[in-house]
């Protein structure tokens, strides 16, 4: 299990290959990658992601451990960036390996749902109109109820 909260960009392809390398016990590998969207209507210049050093890593580790206890999983990877990100930049990724595809998919969705609402990150969007903290979405909170 690797958890990285980092400012630097990550290479999705290199991370996916490294995650999958040498694992012949798990037939299913799922990755999710989050990308800063460039929506014409918001004219996003960039995004700033703040986090809580110490608590953020602990919270993610707890979410990942919970996933490992709920599903039959091999390895788990979570990378989440902080700091300044431009449209098109990759914000974060998770990867899960499992003997069966259902476990790999569900665990990845679980990780994403919990990272959205329970890992201490806060996004601020800087557009032509100024800077604004992103509000938490009800749908993200609601997504937790399925687990």
């Amino acid at each position: 299990m690797r958890i990285s909260v980092q400012q630097e960009p990550f290479d999705l392809g290199a991370e996916a290959n490294a995650f999958a390398a040498g694992d012949t016990a798990n037939g299913a590998i799922v990755t999710f990658t989050g990308v800063v969207r460039d929506l014409a209507q918001t004219d996003l210049a960039y995004m700033e992601i703040e986090y809580y050093p110490g608590m953020t890593e602990r919270a993610i580790a707890k979410i990942a451990e919970e996933a490992k206890s709920r599903w039959s999983l091999g390895d788990v990877l979570v990378i989440h960036r902080h700091g300044r990100l431009a449209p098109g930049d990759r914000i974060m990724m998770v990867a899960t390996a499992a003997p069966h595809r259902k476990d790999a998919f569900e665990a990845a969705e679980y990780l994403m749902d919990y990272l959205k609402s329970r890992a201490p990150f806060w996004k601020k969007e800087i557009t032509g109109l100024g800077a604004e903290w992103v509000a938490a979405k009800d749908e993200d909170e609601d997504a937790l109820s399925r687990w």
Binding site: Y52, P120, F121, W122, D140
Partner: protein, 81 residues
């Protein structure tokens, strides 16, 4: 006790972290005490439903006792992922 603020809570209060001497029994008591000190606290804590609190880096709630706690953090709902 260390008190930390994140995101717009940090911006309203004006500092990311400070030492607070308090005898507050619960998080709510601490919030009341800070809000009475200066307007910037009152502004940050005006709507508790828009806030979350962590005690020693674990999510907690406003009724929780502060006995033995070394680090309190206030922040808005998280928006990770």
């Amino acid at each position: 006790m260390d008190v930390l603020y994140f995101a717009w809570v940090r911006e309203r209060i004006g500092v990311p972290k400070e030492k607070v001497e308090t005898t507050a029994a619960t998080v709510s008591d601490l919030v009341t005490e800070l809000s009475a000190r200066e307007d910037r606290y009152a502004a940050a804590f005006a709507d508790l439903s828009a806030l979350r609190v962590a005690l020693d880096q674990e999510l907690s709630d406003f009724d929780a006792p502060l006995a033995g706690v070394r680090e309190v953090a206030f922040f808005p709902p998280m928006t990770g992922g």
